[in-house]
């Protein structure tokens, strides 16, 4: 019996040690603001970064769209654009400030993520198709690449923001789309392949503007700020 007790206690001890180590490794360090040396960004800071990112993305898309317009479609009217259906048109997005403000935070976050996910592949293809345009200078080609990277980064950033919000209890855990981004893709996800590059740019320009505005509104609602 004493031998058994000894062995059992030994095993327990080892188990405890291992388990504690495992838990320490697996669990993310929790930092509070009071702790020093802990470089965890605040939600406000995260939002600022993401918003800056989206602003830059929108700027690049606007530049590319204008260049495209200059080189390939000198027509000034918007005949072709308006009737165009973007592949993201199926995503229900708030069409105004009030609508966006009324929407639930989780929904808004989800909309943003949906939009970003939907553009991952099309932009990647767009960047590759840029190489075929001899008239396009390298600058624009780099912009296309940067754009597709930005969408990717922005999506990750927004996911982190959502995570943080969930962790802070601001949003509920109803958003399950984080774990399955493919579910966010619109049903007619293959439509984008039929779109011409110019239409793609037009649609992305519009959607990046949406993302930017939604993020602003979201931040204003979640992080109390002057003027919100």
């Amino acid at each position: 019996m004493p031998g058994n007790i000894k062995s059992v206690s030994f095993v327990v001890l080892v188990c405890l040690l291992l388990c504690s180590r495992l838990t320490s490794v697996g669990a993310a360090p929790i930092c509070t603001n009071a702790q020093t040396g802990c470089h965890v960004l605040s939600l406000s800071n995260l939002f600022d970064r993401v918003i800056q990112h989206s602003a830059r993305m929108h700027g690049i898309s606007n530049d590319l769209h204008s260049e495209f317009e200059q080189y390939f479609l000198p027509s000034r009217n918007q005949v072709g654009r308006v009737s165009r259906n973007c592949h993201t048109s199926t995503i229900l997005t708030p069409n105004g400030k009030e609508n966006a403000q009324r929407m639930a935070r989780e929904e808004l976050t989800e909309v943003i993520l949906k939009l970003l996910v939907a553009w991952r592949d099309p932009l990647w293809h767009f960047h590759h198709s840029m190489a075929h345009y001899d008239d396009f200078n390298n600058f624009s080609s780099n912009k296309a690449l940067e754009m597709s990277d930005m969408v990717h980064e922005l999506r990750k950033g927004v996911e982190k923001v959502a995570e943080k919000m969930q962790g802070l209890g601001i949003t509920s855990n109803t958003v399950n789309s984080l774990t399955s981004p493919e579910a966010l893709l619109p049903s007619k996800s293959a439509e984008w392949r039929q779109m011409k590059d110019y239409d793609l740019l037009y649609c992305f320009r519009r959607d990046s503007n949406k993302v930017q505005n939604y993020l602003k509104i979201l931040k204003c609602r979640i992080v109390p700020e002057h003027g919100c």
Partner: protein, 665 residues
């Protein structure tokens, strides 16, 4: 075919403007998208459509508001159309229409505006939510405004529908923000030159734009121009609500206005009202200017005052500011000698060398320092003191009439042994005069020698012009009337002549010679002391042999180096009268180096008492007075200056070099 084509495709109720065939075709194209798809499949139609689409964009009447207000084309007859749609805050928008040339439709209500929001799944035309007939305006409030959704507008009269595909837009693309408000400026700084300045302009975003929530992100553009100019200068577009304008000119008036647009969009809003900026000369700069001047001049004045005090040498102040450094100051001695450690010279001077000690007529080296106390050196300058620049000496007076004459002091121009002995120093003026008077012979020699004299002015009387006088003529010395008897030689070196007919000339000659000798000696001693060991003093004691059997020309004490006072012998020939010889420290220009001693006469052997008088027979070429023309002797290595062969009255026998010192003043 075309008509049939159109007729087939155009649905009823939708009337396309038929005046433009191209437009009509395009209208069909858009209205019947699916039909067109079939048409497109055929290549010929495809080509036709491509051509049409290319041509279409060339003329698009009534669609100016979407493409920009600048591109108003009015080529076609104007039908009712939408002139402009704009949004100020991205939350509402409004549109204006115009009946065009159809004046019958201009009355309110005849034309109706319909819009279409292309939302999935259904889209239908709706009428304007709010009419403002006075402006022919249709206002879409927030409920009816959707961003990122295409809108299309059309005008409908009773029968017709006027529709232009170009009148489709999305709201974010037609946003023209209101101009910023509260534009004002503050002066940043003025350049150091005072010609230009910088200004900080700040403003508030338009109140209609919701920038706090970030719904609209606005960037601004400032433009400014000079009052009279027509071109606006545009600054960089940036999203801050303040900006600096650099390099504005003082005194000029500037006009500034601002406009804004949404970031990453292209459409600017209207310009704000202008503000005017003008900065005139700043007076504060002038106020500080005199202050600095005052301070500066004050400092300069104080400095000048101090300098004046120092320079003017107020003695009391000087004593306070610059107390005199106690240093030996001997009257009559050049302080340079004291400083530079020329001990030998100093000794020479102190013991009465050269001029006979420290003549008071010597330069007053301390004229500027009257408070200086001198170390008095006892020197036998009692007599010389009176002779300080004394023009009253008899000799001077005697010779005064001859001053006007030019004197040619000629020095023997004998090249033999000249280099080492030649003393190019000049005698001073008085001596020159005397010499000229005394030397009646050989004018040519005088000239020659005078030139030599000319070459080297006396060191201390350099400025004294050479007195060139021309003697009247050779004066024959063979005159038995001219004689005097030297009865005594005074300790001071003066020669006492016995009463009798004094030969002025002789005296002057003697005096001159003495002077010359003295000068020579003095000069020699003052200049080259080492050489003096070799050079004998021209100490000429006139040894007279009254009998004429012979005479000892030897009057020059050879070894006078022991005694620095060389001119003693010369003085031995002084008359009773005050020393005419201004034995100035100026050295003579004569060949000082040559010992007056004849080479053959090594010793100053003075023989038995001489006679009372003698007669100067002649003056030889070397300006020696030949009392009894001796046999011609070999020329001395250096032309002797004055071989006085006169017969002085030696008081007692001969004078050895040792005794010469007693004679020195």
């Amino acid at each position: 075919m075309k008509t049939a084509f159109f007729g087939r495709l155009v649905p009823a109720g939708l009337r396309c403007p038929s005046s433009e065939m191209i437009c009509a075709v395009f209208c069909v194209f858009h209205s019947n998208f699916e039909n067109i798809m079939a048409v497109l499949s055929s290549s010929s139609n495809l080509l036709l459509l491509l051509l049409i689409s290319f041509l279409d964009w060339l003329s698009t009447p009534g669609s100016a508001f979407v493409t920009g207000r600048d591109h108003v084309t009015s080529s076609a007859p104007v039908e009712p159309h939408i002139t402009e749609c704009t949004s100020r805050n991205q939350e509402t928008f409004r549109c204006w229409w115009s009946p065009g040339n159809f004046h019958n439709l201009s009355s309110p209500g005849t034309l109706r505006l319909f819009y279409l929001k292309k939302v999935m799944p259904t889209s239908e035309w709706k009428e304007c939510p709010e009419y403002i007939y006075s402006n022919r305006e249709c206002f879409f409030d927030m409920n009816h405004t959707s961003i990122w959704i295409p809108y299309c507008l059309q005008l409908r009269s009773q029968n017709l529908t006027y529709f232009n595909e170009d009148d489709c837009f999305t709201v974010e693309n037609i946003v023209h923000p209101d101009p910023p408000v509260s534009l004002n400026w503050t002066l940043l700084e003025i350049s150091p030159s005072g010609l230009s300045y910088d200004v900080m302009v700040n403003w508030e975003p338009p109140p209609s734009a919701d920038v706090e929530t970030g719904w609209m992100r606005i960037e601004y553009e400032i433009q400014y121009r000079e009052r009279n100019s027509t071109n606006w200068e545009a600054l960089e577009i940036q999203p801050q609500t303040q900006q600096t304008i650099y390099g504005l000119h003082i005194g000029e008036e500037y006009e500034v206005h601002i406009r804004c647009r949404m970031q990453a969009f292209t459409k600017f809003g209207e310009f704000s009202d202008s503000i005017f900026i003008q900065v005139t000369e700043i007076a504060s700069k002038e106020s500080t200017f005199p202050l600095t001047l005052v301070v500066l001049f004050g400092i300069v004045g104080i400095l000048i005052l101090i300098m004046l005090i120092v320079v003017s040498q107020q003695h009391r102040l000087m004593l306070i500011l610059l107390p005199p450094v106690p240093a030996p100051k001997i009257k009559g001695i050049d302080p340079e000698l004291l400083k530079k450690g020329k001990l030998d010279e100093l000794n020479f001077i102190l013991s009465g060398g050269g001029m006979g000690g420290l003549p008071t007529y010597a330069q007053d080296f301390y004229q500027a320092e009257p408070w200086v106390e001198f170390i008095e050196v006892e020197a036998e300058d009692a007599d010389t003191g009176e002779k300080k620049d004394n023009q009253g000496t008899d000799t001077q007076r005697l010779l005064s009439q001859r001053i006007s004459r030019h004197i040619n002091i000629g020095f023997p121009d004998d090249d033999s042994g000249r280099s080492s002995c030649y003393n190019p120093d000049l005698p001073d003026q008085d001596t020159l005069m005397l010499m000229a008077t005394l030397l009646p012979g050989q004018p040519e020699d005088r000239e020659a020698s005078f030139n030599a004299v000319e070459r080297a002015p006396t060191p201390e009387r350099g400025e004294r012009p050479l007195v060139q006088t021309q003697t009247e003529g050779p004066q024959t010395w063979v005159n038995t009337d001219f004689y005097a008897q030297v009865s005594n030689v005074m300790p001071s070196g003066g020669v006492v002549l016995s009463p009798g007919q004094q030969l002025r000339i002789q005296e002057s000659t003697l005096a001159t010679e003495e002077k010359t000798q003295k000068r020579e000696i003095k000069h020699k001693w003052s200049e080259d002391i080492e050489d003096n060991n070799q050079k004998e003093l021209q100490f000429q004691l006139l040894v007279v042999d009254p009998e004429g059997s012979g005479y000892t020309t030897e009057s020059i004490a050879r070894q006078i180096n022991t005694r620095p006072s060389s001119p003693v012998p010369g003085e031995g020939y002084q008359t009773i009268h005050p020393q005419p010889v201004e034995t100035k420290p100026g050295a003579t220009a004569e060949d000082n180096q040559s010992p007056y001693i004849l080479p053959d006469s090594p010793q100053p052997q003075f023989f038995a008492p001489v006679a009372d008088y003698t007669v100067v027979q002649e003056v030889d070429s070397q300006h020696s007075l030949l009392l009894n023309p001796p046999p011609r002797q070999s020329p001395p290595p250096c032309p002797p200056q004055h071989q006085l062969k006169a017969i002085p009255a030696m008081p007692v026998g001969y004078i050895t070099p040792d005794l010469l010192g007693n004679l020195s003043p």
